[in-house]
C-alpha cells in the first residue's frame, strides 16, 4: 500500500542501471541479475569504502551480482526503518571480509585500511587491531564472533545514526 511507490521507484532505479537487461514487468519472474560493477556506481554507494562488501553480502551467490530481490533486500536493510538487530547482523556480514563468520585480525586490518585509505603506519594498524580485539572479544578466542560484535555494537551510541543508513 504505502510503499508501493517506493518499490516502484526502486525498480526504476534498478531498471535504469541496465535498461537493456532488466525487463519492465516482473510478472513472469525472470531470472535477472546485475553485476557488482553496476551496483557500486550508484551515488549512494559510490563513496562508501565498503561498497564491494555491502553488495557482496547481499548478493545471493556471494559474488556481488544482485537480483532484484536482493536489491530490494539491500535497500530495506539500509533504510532507516530497519531495526537495529537486523542492521547489526548485516553490518557483521559486511565487516566479515573472508566470510568465515568471525571478524578476525585480517578483517579488522582490511576495515581499517579502507576507513583511513591506508594512511596509518603498520604499527598503528596492529595496535588498533589489538585494541579492538582486546576490547570487544568477550570469549577470548582472538576474534570477534557475532555475539561479541552485537554486544559491542549495541552499546554504541551512534550506531543507529551512522552505521548502515541511507
Amino acid at each position: 500500500f504505502f510503499f508501493f511507490l517506493l518499490v516502484y521507484r526502486l525498480h526504476g532505479r534498478y531498471h535504469e542501471m541496465a535498461p537493456n537487461v532488466v525487463p519492465m514487468d516482473y510478472t513472469k519472474d525472470p531470472d535477472v541479475k546485475l553485476p557488482m560493477q553496476l551496483i557500486i556506481n550508484m551515488p549512494e554507494l559510490k563513496e562508501n569504502p565498503f561498497k564491494e562488501r555491502i553488495v557482496e553480502s547481499f548478493s545471493e551467490d556471494g559474488e556481488g551480482s544482485l537480483s532484484f530481490n536482493d536489491f530490494v533486500d539491500m535497500f530495506s536493510v539500509l533504510s532507516e526503518m530497519a531495526p537495529r538487530e537486523l542492521k547489526a547482523i548485516y553490518a557483521f556480514k559486511i565487516y566479515d571480509f573472508n566470510t568465515d563468520n568471525f571478524i578476525c585480525k585480517s578483517d579488522l586490518e582490511k576495515t581499517l585500511n579502507k576507513l583511513t585509505r591506508e594512511e596509518l603506519t603498520a604499527e598503528e594498524i596492529t595496535l588498533v587491531c589489538e585494541k579492538v580485539i582486546e576490547e570487544a572479544d568477550m570469549d577470548g578466542d582472538g576474534k570477534l564472533g557475532f555475539a561479541d560484535f552485537e554486544n559491542m555494537i549495541s552499546k554504541a551510541p551512534d550506531f543507529l545514526r551512522y552505521c548502515l543508513k541511507k
Binding site: 526503518m81 547482523i89 576507513l115 583511513t116 596509518l120 598503528e124 588498533v128 579492538v132 570469549d139
Partner: protein
C-alpha cells in the same frame, strides 16, 4: 513489511490465483500437511546458512514426487510456514467451529500477525521472506474474516503509517536543526583536517559570537536605539556637540581609528547620553535603562557561562562508560553511510584517520610507564623555572610601571620613555610563550594536559598586562576627576558671565542661548575610558589579523613557492608551515571578551565592534587555518567539555566585573556628561526610580532589605546552601565512580569467566579424580568415570548423573542436584560423595568429622 507486500503484488500479478489455489490446498487435508511437516523439519535441519539453495533443492525433490506444479509450490510455502512459525500443521485446516478450535485458530492468527510484524527483523533472503509473508498473510486474511477481527486492520495500518510519518518528521526536523547551526560545515571541515582540538577553538569562537549577539541585542535594543529615536538630537546641548576647538578636525579621516571628533560625541559612548529622567512620549527612563542594561550584561554573561559549564560537566559525566569500546566503535561505526559527495567523503576519511591517531596518542600515553622519578623531578624543575619566569616578568612590569609614573611627572621625556610600558609588555608577550613551551617540553605531558598548563601560564602572564592597563587607566581617571572640579567652576562662571553680560546689555528678554559648542566642558572620564577600550579592541583586532596574515599566510606562501629555489628544504626544515596556535588564540579571545565586558558600560557601541570582529575572524581564521597551517605533529583529542576555556572566561568575567563595580559604587560620575550626571554616585539612579515611580511601601521594603542586618544572614544562608550542595554533589560523585568501578569489574569478571571456562573444567575434573579414590567406596570410580566421559559442561552432568544413579541401582547422594531430592536411603549411605561437585570438597574431611546430610546441602560449611 508493507513494501514487501506491494512488491509481491508487483512481482506476481498472479498472486490472486495463487491464493485461491492455496486455499484449495489448505482444505486438502492432513495427509499433505504431514508430509509438508517432514519437509519442513528437514529443511530446518539444514540450517539457515543458504536457505535459498536448500529451497530450490527441496523444490526439485518435491517436483519429482508430486506432479501438479502449483499445488506443489503452495505446499512448499506451507511447510515453510510450519518451519518458521512453529505452528502445528494439521489443526489449522479445519473450519469446523468448535470452541477449542476457534481458540486455537485465534492463537494462530495472532502468531501469524506477529510473524508479519516481525518479518522485517529476520535476516532472511528476500525470496524466503516473500513467500513466508505471502503465506502468513493469506492465512490471516482467510481466518480473520472467519473470526471477525479484520476491522482492526485498517486502524493498525493507519497507526503504523502515522508512526512512520512521525519518525520521518522528527528526523527531518533534526536535520533542519543541524543545518541551522551556523558554520557547522566549516568547523567540521577544520576538524576533519586538524583534529578536535583546533575545532574546539572554533566552537568556542562560535559560542562567544552567540553570547555577544545577545549582548548586542540587549544594548542596542534598550539603550542606543531609544536614545537615537527619542532622545534629544545632536547639537541640542553641550554634551551632544563637538566643542568648537575640535570642530576643525572632527571629520578627519583619522577619526575612524582614534575615535575622536564626531564619533566621540555620538551614541556609541557614555558621554552622549542625557540625564533627563524620561525621554520621548513613552516616558522611557533612559538612565535607569542604561544602568540596568549595564548590570544585566554582566548578569547574563555570568549566567550563560555558568550554565554552559554545568551542561558541559553534565555531558562529560553522562556518557561515562564510553571508554570500553573506543577503538571498536571507531572501527565499526565511524563511517557515515549517508555520505554521497566525494568531497565530504574525503573529509570523512581525513577525520577518521585523525580520530584514530588521536586515540592512538591517548593509548600510547596511558601505556607509557618509564622512570617516574625522573619525570617527577623534571616536572618540578619545569614548574620552578616557569614560576621564576612569571615572577621575573611580574617584577619587570611593576618596575616599569613605577618608572613610567615618575616619567609622567617629568617634562620633555623621549619617545622610548613614554612608551616603555607598552614595549616591555609586548616583548614579554612575544618571548614568554615560546619560552614556556620550551620548558613544557621537559614535562612531557600528554598534549591535552600540556595545553592546559600552557594556557594557565600564559594567562598568568597576560594578567600582568591587564594589571598595568587598569593601573594606567585608574591614574588617568583620578587625574580627570581632579581636573573636573576645576572645570566645573569655570563652566558655572562662564554660564553666569554669559547671563550677566546679556543682562547688562539691557535687554529684558531672555538672553540668546550660548552656542552649545562654546560651553566649556569637563573631561568626562567615562568617555575617555570607553575610548581607551575601543581603541585597544581595534588595535587588538588589527594586530591579530596582521599576525595571521604575515605569520601564517605570507610564511606559507614563502615556504611553498621559494622552496623550488632554495638551498635546503623549507617545508621540512627550518621555517616550515605554521601550526595553529590554540593557546594563544583562545587566550586572545578570552582577554578580548574581558575588554568588552569592562568597556561596554562606558562605550555601548563596543559590543557592536566586537560582534563584527568575531564574525570576520570566524571566516578569516577558518580560511587561514585551511590555507596556510599544518596539523599539529601530535594530533590530540580535545577534552569533550571545553570547561577549561569556560573557567578562564569566568575568571576574566569576574576580574572585569570588579573595576566596573568599583566605579559604579564609589566614583562620582562626571557632572556634565552621561546619563548619571548630577548625581553623587551612579547607583543613585535606582533609589531615585524607587522613590519617584513606585508606591511608598516599595521604598520602605527596599530600605529594609538593604539593611545589613538582613543581608549578612542571607549571605550566610547562601554559603551554607553552597556547602550543603557541594557535599551532596561530592557524595554523588563518589557513588558514581564506585558504580563505574563495579561495572568495569563485572565486565572483567565476565571476560575472565569466559576465558577460563575451558581451563577450569578440566581442572575441576582433575580435582574430582583426586578426590574420588580417597573416598574408597566401591561405586565411586565408576561414577567418576561416568562423569568424566559425559561432562563437558557444568550443568548437564548433574542431570545426567541423577539419571544414571538409579540405573546403576545405587542410590546416590552425589552432586548438589541430588542433595535437594534425597533418596530415602540417604542416611545409610556413606557420605563421602557429597563433595563431588563442590569446588573444595575436602574442607571438612581433614577434621575427621562424620559429615551428615546437613553437610550435603551446604557446600561443606563447618557448622560444628
Amino acid at each position: 513489511e508493507k513494501d514487501k507486500e506491494d512488491e509481491s503484488k508487483e512481482e506476481n500479478s498472479s498472486s490472486q490465483q495463487n491464493r485461491a489455489s492455496r486455499r484449495k490446498s489448505l482444505q486438502k487435508k492432513p495427509g499433505d500437511g504431514k508430509k509438508a511437516g517432514e519437509e519442513g523439519s528437514r529443511q530446518r535441519e539444514r540450517g539457515k546458512k543458504a536457505p535459498t539453495k536448500d529451497q530450490k533443492e527441496s523444490e526439485n525433490k518435491e517436483r519429482k514426487t508430486n506432479k501438479k506444479g502449483k499445488e506443489e509450490e503452495n505446499k512448499q510455502k506451507k511447510d515453510r510456514k510450519n518451519s518458521t512459525s512453529s505452528a502445528s500443521s494439521n489443526s489449522s485446516d479445519e473450519e469446523s467451529l468448535s470452541e477449542e478450535e476457534l481458540a486455537m485458530l485465534m492463537e494462530q492468527v495472532e502468531q501469524k500477525k506477529k510473524l508479519i510484524s516481525t518479518m522485517r527483523n529476520k535476516p532472511w533472503r528476500m525470496v524466503k521472506k516473500l513467500s513466508v509473508l505471502r503465506e502468513a498473510q493469506a492465512f490471516v486474511e482467510k481466518f480473520e474474516g472467519a473470526l471477525g477481527k479484520g476491522k482492526g486492520k485498517k486502524l493498525y495500518a493507519y497507526k503504523m503509517m502515522m508512526a512512520k510519518k512521525w519518525v520521518k518528521f522528527k528526523r527531518d526536523f533534526d536535520n533542519f536543526k543541524t543545518q541551522c547551526i551556523p558554520w557547522e560545515m566549516k568547523i567540521k571541515e577544520v576538524e576533519s583536517h586538524f583534529g578536535s582540538s583546533v575545532a574546539s577553538y572554533f566552537i568556542f569562537l562560535r559560542w562567544m559570537y552567540g553570547v555577544n549577539l545577545v549582548l548586542f541585542g540587549l544594548i542596542f535594543g534598550l539603550v542606543i536605539i531609544p536614545e537615537v529615536l527619542m532622545g534629544m538630537p545632536y547639537g541640542s546641548m553641550p554634551r551632544k556637540t563637538v566643542p568648537r576647538a575640535e570642530q576643525a578636525t572632527a571629520m578627519d579621516f583619522s577619526v575612524l581609528w582614534d575615535f575622536e571628533g564626531y564619533i566621540k560625541y555620538s551614541a556609541l559612548f557614555y558621554g552622549y547620553y542625557n540625564n533627563q529622567r524620561t525621554i520621548g512620549w513613552l516616558k522611557y527612563r533612559l538612565p535607569m535603562a542604561y544602568f540596568m542594561v549595564g548590570i544585566s550584561v554582566f548578569g547574563y554573561s555570568l549566567m550563560v557561562v555558568i550554565r554552559s559549564m554545568a551542561r558541559n560537566a553534565n555531558e562529560s559525566t553522562a556518557d561515562g562508560d564510553d571508554d570500553n569500546f573506543v577503538f571498536s566503535w571507531k572501527m565499526f561505526t565511524s563511517w557515515d553511510y549517508l555520505i554521497g559527495n566525494p568531497e565530504t567523503a574525503d573529509n570523512k576519511f581525513a577525520s577518521i584517520t585523525t580520530s584514530f591517531k588521536e586515540s592512538i596518542v591517548d593509548e600510547q600515553e596511558s601505556n607509557k610507564d618509564e622512570n617516574i622519578h625522573l619525570r617527577r623531578f623534571l616536572r618540578v624543575l619545569a614548574n620552578v623555572l616557569i614560576i621564576c619566569c612569571l615572577c621575573g616578568s611580574g617584577y619587570l612590569i611593576y618596575f616599569v610601571v613605577k618608572r613610567s609614573q615618575t616619567f609622567s611627572k617629568m617634562q620633555n621625556v623621549g619617545w622610548y620613555e613614554r612608551n616603555e610600558v607598552e614595549i616591555v609588555m609586548s616583548l614579554l608577550g612575544m618571548f614568554c610563550p615560546p619560552l614556556f613551551e620550551t620548558i613544557a617540553a621537559l614535562e612531557n605531558y600528554h598534549p591535552r594536559i600540556g595545553l592546559k598548563w600552557q594556557l594557565g601560564r600564559i594567562f598568568a602572564l597576560f594578567l600582568g598586562n591587564l594589571y598595568t592597563f587598569l593601573l594606567a587607566l585608574m591614574d588617568d581617571v583620578n587625574e580627570k576627576l581632579a581636573e573636573e572640579d576645576v572645570v566645573k567652576n569655570i563652566t558655572r562662571w562662564t554660564l553666569l558671565g554669559h547671563h550677566n553680560s546679556s543682562v547688562e546689555n539691557g535687554s529684558t528678554a531672555t538672553p540668546p542661548p550660548l552656542d552649545p559648542a562654546d560651553v566649556p566642558r569637563g573631561p568626562c572620564w567615562e568617555t575617555t575610558v570607553g575610548i581607551e577600550f575601543v581603541r585597544l579592541t581595534v588595535s587588538d583586532i588589527l594586530v591579530t589579523y596582521i599576525t595571521i596574515l604575515v605569520g601564517d599566510f605570507i610564511r606559507a606562501c614563502f615556504v611553498r613557492f621559494v622552496n623550488y629555489c632554495w638551498c635546503w628544504d623549507l617545508e621540512a626544515g627550518f621555517p616550515s608551515y605554521a601550526e595553529f596556535d590554540i593557546s594563544g588564540n583562545v587566550l586572545g579571545l578570552v582577554f578580548n571578551q574581558g575588554m568588552i565586558w569592562m568597556g561596554s558600560f562606558y562605550a555601548p557601541g563596543l559590543v557592536g565592534v566586537n560582534v563584527l570582529r568575531l564574525l570576520t575572524s570566524m571566516y578569516f581564521q577558518c580560511w587561514a587555518v585551511m590555507s596556510s597551517n599544518v596539523p599539529h605533529e601530535r594530533v590530540f583529542k580535545a577534552s569533550k567539555s571545553n570547561n577549561f576555556y569556560m573557567g578562564l572566561l569566568l575568571l576574566i568575567l569576574f576580574l572585569s566585573l570588579l573595576p566596573v563595580a568599583y566605579t559604579i559604587m564609589s566614583l562620582p560620575p562626571s557632572f556634565d556628561c552621561g546619563p548619571f550626571s548630577g548625581k553623587k554616585r551612579m547607583y543613585e539612579v535606582i533609589q531615585e526610580t524607587i522613590e519617584l515611580d513606585f508606591p511608598l511601601f516599595v521604598a520602605k521594603i527596599f530600605s529594609y532589605v538593604a539593611n545589613p542586618g538582613l543581608i549578612i544572614p542571607a549571605i550566610l544562608l547562601m554559603v551554607l546552601a553552597i556547602y550543603y550542595l557541594n557535599a551532596v554533589a561530592e557524595a554523588y560523585q563518589r557513588a558514581n565512580t564506585e558504580l563505574k568501578k563495579k561495572m568495569q569489574m563485572q565486565r572483567e569478571e565476565e571476560k575472565n569467566k569466559r576465558n577460563n571456562k575451558a581451563s577450569t573444567n578440566p581442572m575441576l575434573q582433575d580435582l574430582e579424580d583426586l578426590l574420588t579414590p580417597g573416598t574408597k567406596s566401591e561405586s565411586h570410580p565408576k561414577q567418576a568415570e561416568d562423569k568424566k566421559t559425559e561432562s563437558p559442561t557444568r550443568t548437564s552432568p548433574v542431570g545426567k548423573h541423577r539419571k544414571a544413579a538409579p540405573l546403576n541401582g545405587i542410590p546416590m547422594t552425589g552432586g548438589r542436584g541430588a542433595a535437594f531430592t534425597p533418596p530415602p536411603h540417604m542416611f545409610m549411605r556413606q557420605p563421602p560423595t557429597l563433595g563431588v561437585w563442590a569446588p573444595y570438597p575436602g574442607q571438612p574431611r581433614p577434621r575427621g568429622h562424620p559429615p551428615g546430610p546437613v553437610l550435603g546441602r551446604g557446600r561443606g560449611q563447618p557448622r560444628y
